[in-house]
Amino acid sequence: VDTKQPASDGSKQLIMALDPDYETFDPGLAYEVYGLLVLHPVYDTLMQFEENLDAPKYGVAESHEVSKDGLSYTFKLRKGIVFAGGDALTAQDVKWSVERSINLKGNGAFLTDGITSIETPDANTVVFKLKEQDASFLTKLTYNAFGVIDSKLAMANGATNAADAATSDKAKLWFDTHSAGSGPYVIESYTPKVEVVLARNKTYWGKAPYYDKVILKSIPDPGTQLMMLQKGDIDIAFNLGPEHVKQLQDKPGIQIKKAQSMTLTFLLMNRDPKIGGPIANPDVQKAIRLVLDYQGIQTIAGEGSVTPVAPFQVGFLGTLPPRDPKTAQNIEKAKELMKKAGYEKGFKTTLEVATLAVEGMNLPTLAQKIQNDLLQIGIETEIKTSDIMVALDPYRKGQQALSLWYWGPDYPDPNTQLAFLPGNSVGLRANWTAEMNPKLAELGKKASVETDKATRIKYLQEIQAMMDEDSAFDVLLQHARHYATRDNIVGTDYIDLYKINLKDVSAK
């Protein structure tokens, strides 16, 4: 049944339901998971991904050069690009936009950290000077922090790239409901918690998108999204859990989409005995890795989810094949390890978990499964749930003994995952210091600056193998992303960075 009615004026419109986390569409400030879904089709960037996250392609840049020392990137811009507002896009706009992002000090500003200066030798050339080599610089350029803003229009509405922009910039509210980009769409309206409406940019320089309008509806509840899709009220239901998708099987008029998400769910096990108690014992941690029923865990997370051996996502450069859930569990060996650690009789501890759903899977539900599994080696856990914002505090301060967390990459490059290594930011959340595994720490440092692809892969794989043996983390899941569309919609393939590349979506 397709009850969906066409727009009153006969124009083509796409309606997508999602549970978004965006609060602002100021490209200098936005750094939410769903930010780029909206901003990518609105603000062009120098580089952008297409289809997959292998390697960035050119966006408004048409070529680039890297200096020998790797510290200077020179981009040539495509000619003849005009902003939706009518102004021509120049190198000056690029410089202004990036400087504004730097000075606004928004959540995504760390992506610009390595930049020392931006130069514009002419209207079509931009030169970025970096502090140190950065293998992921081109990838970072795909973010909205580097989105090119129509600086004239923006300044007319109170924006500034001045050093004190964090306090003197007055354009945030304007950016929420207007746009100043050169992408295929412009923001037509934004009603927080209700919808964002994107309208076709008639002067777009590239291939014109299929839809005249894209409406992104905020429907936080997956059940509701499911209902609306079944009723034909929407074209895409984007936040379905594995269970919802199952219910859609064999439903006419609907196609189910599955993809590998880059989001990980993992167990943190503190290495500090003062905090973790028995948990801090590496043997106990290994025993825990062995006793968990990964197959059951994957059942809960839904079809398509996998369990990487270490915190490196399948799909990234050099990631090892995931665990085989059928053989990964070894209760006997786990018991032995417990005995070795002196906890043959087990012990009691708390399992902390934030109340939220990751890719449609409810974390507390998973926690109950873990609780159940740990009982087999005598570890009795009491689940402590708290709101994510409350749980973040002890997590970031490294005060949780045993906790369940999720992780999404900051940018699509394995380097972002090195944070899990001992001595690095996430490693330290488990009080896993570099001294505890100096070899691993050392290897991590090497991998982060290595630019040769083969060597990088070698280092990365070595790291993963070592982490399978000794790690303060146990990666439970790399999630699958489940969503569904009306079956006449095409071009909705998942790209982790953008979720869906809206400008490519069309209907049969």
Binding site: K4, A7, Q13, E23, T24, F110, I215, S218, I234, R396
Partner: protein, 339 residues
């Protein structure tokens, strides 16, 4: 006591209330183990001391507590509730956006609740102890007993999914465009814009959540109307009216109902207050972009400017509703008017 004086006193209380409510939230906000800095900065930025400082100074978190409070109150007097940490928009703006949605739903459901509640209550009182009475009392008790979040789920499942006779969640159908914002009440705005189909659509969308939200209040009103009417019917002046030769219908309509309404008004006031409180649950189920969801998110994020904002708004609302109830009292009951 004159009405004016009374109103003045109430308004004075409002000031007291606003100060109290903001103080309480402020107190809670600084006794909590977690920190808005951590809650709102990205993982990367937390490790960056400079970013943390910048964030703190931007939101005034680096100043002593009492200074923060005085700054807040100072701004509040000027109508500035500060910016929400989470949405980064002025709280005032957010409230202006979300509150009308909530209010529209609340008003709609209170109208339903009043209409059916009083109707049922009157029937039940007239036919007291009959089967009809028992059925109505049963319904009214069901109304006050049913968990709204569950009822919401069930009615959506039945009327929207299974039967397809009711529209789905949200304020309007997904393919419709919201009307030009004037009052931010969609039905009214759509009518103002002359867009009949949109107005009808918006009205339809009010129905299920309105019913779910109003079920409690309706039960309360039914119950109160019934007992209040019964009580009034046993009063001396009703006997006088009978002795004058009035028919039962005239007695109920002209003599009993007016008096019976007086306690009902109080209950309507309480009910309306409850509606706003119960919003969180219903809005979650019906994807209603109102103050309830906003508050829920704000509380989760420890977004204190927003929490204080919502709390003050709802408290003010409570006082205003009480004021209206009291004024209605005066209209309904001449004894209050002249006291």
């Amino acid at each position: 006591m004159g009405l004016l004086k009374y109103t003045a006193r109430r308004l004075l209380f409002l000031v007291f209330l606003v100060i109290g409510v903001s103080l309480v939230v402020f107190f809670i906000s600084h006794s909590v183990p977690s920190d808005p800095v951590l809650a709102n900065l990205s993982q990367r930025n937390i490790d960056n001391q400079e970013m943390v400082e910048a964030f703190k100074s931007k939101w005034g978190l680096d100043k002593p507590l009492h200074t923060q409070y005085f700054i807040y109150v100072g701004n509040l007097v000027k109508g500035d509730m500060g910016n929400s940490i989470r949405t980064q928009r002025p709280v005032m703006e957010d409230l202006k956006k979300y509150f009308p949605a909530t209010l529209e739903l609340a008003i709609f459901s209170i109208i339903i609740a009043i209409f059916f509640g009083m109707l049922f209550g009157i029937i039940s009182a007239i036919k007291r102890n009959s089967a009809t009475d028992q059925v109505i009392r049963g319904i009214s008790v069901l109304g006050v007993s049913v968990p709204s979040f569950w009822l919401g789920l069930m009615v959506l499942l039945v009327f929207y999914v299974k039967l397809g006779i009711a529209p789905g969640p949200g304020r309007i159908s997904p393919y419709m465009m919201p009307p030009v914002a004037v009052t931010n009440f969609y039905v009214i705005d759509a009518l103002l814009a002359g867009n009949w189909s949109l107005a009808w659509d918006a009205l339809q969308h009010l129905f299920l959540p309105g019913l779910v939200l109003g079920s409690f209040t309706m039960g309360l009103i039914t119950r109160t109307t019934r007992s209040s009417l019964l009580e009034v019917m046993s009063m001396d002046f009703i006997r006088t009216a009978r002795a004058k030769g009035l028919t039962e219908k005239m007695i109920i309509m002209q003599h009993a109902l007016g008096n019976a309404l007086i306690p009902v008004v109080t209950v309507i006031g309480i009910g309306f207050g409850n509606l706003l409180g119960g919003m969180v649950l219903v809005e979650t189920i019906f994807a209603w972009p109102g103050i309830g969801q906003y508050a829920y998110k704000a509380a989760g994020n420890l977004d204190f400017p927003a929490i204080i904002g919502v709390s003050i708004l709802i408290s003010i609302n409570y006082v205003v509703i009480n004021l209206i109830v009291d004024i209605l009292y005066g209209i309904l009951d001449p004894r209050v008017r002249y006291k």
